[in-house]
Amino acid sequence: MNKKQLLNICGVTKKFNDGIREIHALKGVSLEIYEGEIFGLLGVNGAGKTTLSSIIATLNPPTTGDITRNGVSIYEDVVAYRRMIGFCPQKPNIDMMLTIEENLWFTGRYFCMSQELIKERVAYLLKRFGLDKYSGSKASILSGGYKQRFLLARTLMHNPQLVILDEPTVGLDPHVRRDIWEVIKSLRNDNVTVLLTTHYLDEAEQLADRVCVLDKGVIRLVDTPENLKNVHGQKNLEDVFVKLVTDCDQPGMC
């Protein structure tokens, strides 16, 4: 695996105020993401996965800490950074006023792609994700699975270097999940870096080169799925995860 660092996340914290109390969603998260890897971000609901992926996607800022690329903060030139990322959020944020094809076409325009390239990419992605039969339809008629396929297609439209997928298969039928897994695997072959947020451990085990377990805003560990299974003497990642979370729930263990 290519070990060239793509992003360095240094001491990122995030505090929210929900009107009643202050919530510390992330408590000093530091990690490195390498070029061409599939990096799995695991954790139970409320662990801080979506918060971290939203910060890496520059949707929201960190409270403290920084994210650097080639030693330079991404916030120095956030526009250039956004051109190299593709963000697929957990909740479909599709432009319902446009058709599927128009959505993709405008995405190409937003990323300043040429007309020829847009045409080529739209045709390819519609076919690749089985969306061609819905190309002239508004996104509102799509089922959950097709909406997710569309979101992935939109994320990949401009050939991003870093793809951030926040729970891309949540609530999908098994065959759709498998199909999306194939897409994610194919990204690795194209040397695209993938940050995959998920709470499906089989998904992370199947896809991720390295996984990071996030628990209550703190990183518990970062390693390859194989190493984790060996070190913790477990058969699969799910058992490792359960052991870690159970251990951490006991006083003085984490």
């Binding site: 929201n60 526009v79 479909p92 944020n93 432009d95 319902m96 937003y110």
Partner: protein, 258 residues
């Protein structure tokens, strides 16, 4: 920077592509409003002793129709935040996040302008020689009319910050739109209010609609009887800048932007 401009242009293009199919409906609405205004103030009100009032009211309607679009703009914005949240996609596009809000304001302004711009030609068509345009300065009209709609566009952002959910949308109407419009001089000029009560008239100068209506009327009917045109331009520009800056700043804070 150039690429961010291109992205901005593509977003504006998207907004207009979505708006154009709806324009016909909005144009029909504009005709209905215009015809009703003329019918009442040209044919009914003179029977009640209020003559030569239709032109004055038509100009007031043209200047404030965009103001009523503010409610729709805010509703659309809040509905998106509560529903699909497509805004969160635009906020990750390769342009500064504040530019996404500027684009929303400009699109609102442009859309309202294309509808409101039909009012005067329709009024002229219906009233013919009873709507004299001898004193009209087309250049001045273009300036104040465009500025007014920019103000409405940015005002939508500022009001959207104050609205927590669609359930509180009626507050927008009763607390912002209605008082500003009712006291803004839609039915009377500032000089008339001054004759009634100078103190209230001076306080009313804080209402940006007063300057918009006075400026638009001065550009069409001539300067006499209205506030100085260029002062209206300066004040509306200032209000637009203030409302825009505060609105974008508060929205960025509310949505936790970078």
């Amino acid at each position: 920077m150039m690429l961010a401009f291109q992205t901005f242009g593509a977003l504006m293009w998207r907004d207009m592509a979505v708006f154009i199919p709806m324009w016909k409906d909005r144009f029909i609405n504009a005709i209905i409003w215009c015809v009703l205004t003329l019918l009442i103030f040209e044919y009914i009100m003179p029977q009640a002793g209020l003559a030569n009032y239709a032109v004055f009211m038509c100009i007031g309607t043209a200047a404030t129709v965009g103001f009523f679009e503010v409610t729709e703009n805010v509703s659309r914005f809040i509905a998106d935040l509560e529903g699909e949240r497509s805004l969160s996609y635009y906020l990750t596009l390769p342009l500064p996040q504040w530019a996404v809000f500027v684009r929303i304001a400009l699109s609102n302004a442009l859309q309202a302008l294309t509808v409101a711009g039909c009012f005067l030609p329709i009024s002229k068509l219906l009233l013919q020689s009873r709507f004299p345009l001898d004193a009209m300065s087309y250049g001045k009209f273009f300036i104040i009319f465009t500025l007014a709609h920019l103000f409405y566009g940015f005002l939508s952002l500022l009001i959207a910050v104050q609205v927590e959910s669609l359930y509180t949308m009626s507050n927008v109407w009763m607390r912002f739109i209605y008082p500003l419009w009712w006291l803004g001089g839609y039915q009377f000029s500032w000089s008339v209010l001054y004759k009634v009560n100078p103190y209230i008239a001076y306080v009313n100068l804080l209402n940006p609609l007063v300057w918009i209506l006075e400026g638009v009327r001065a550009s069409i009917l001539g300067q006499e009887g209205y506030l100085p045109f260029w002062m209206c331009v300066a004040v509306v520009t200032l209000y637009t800048a203030i409302v825009g800056l505060i609105g974008i700043r508060l929205l960025m804070r509310r949505l936790d932007c970078v």
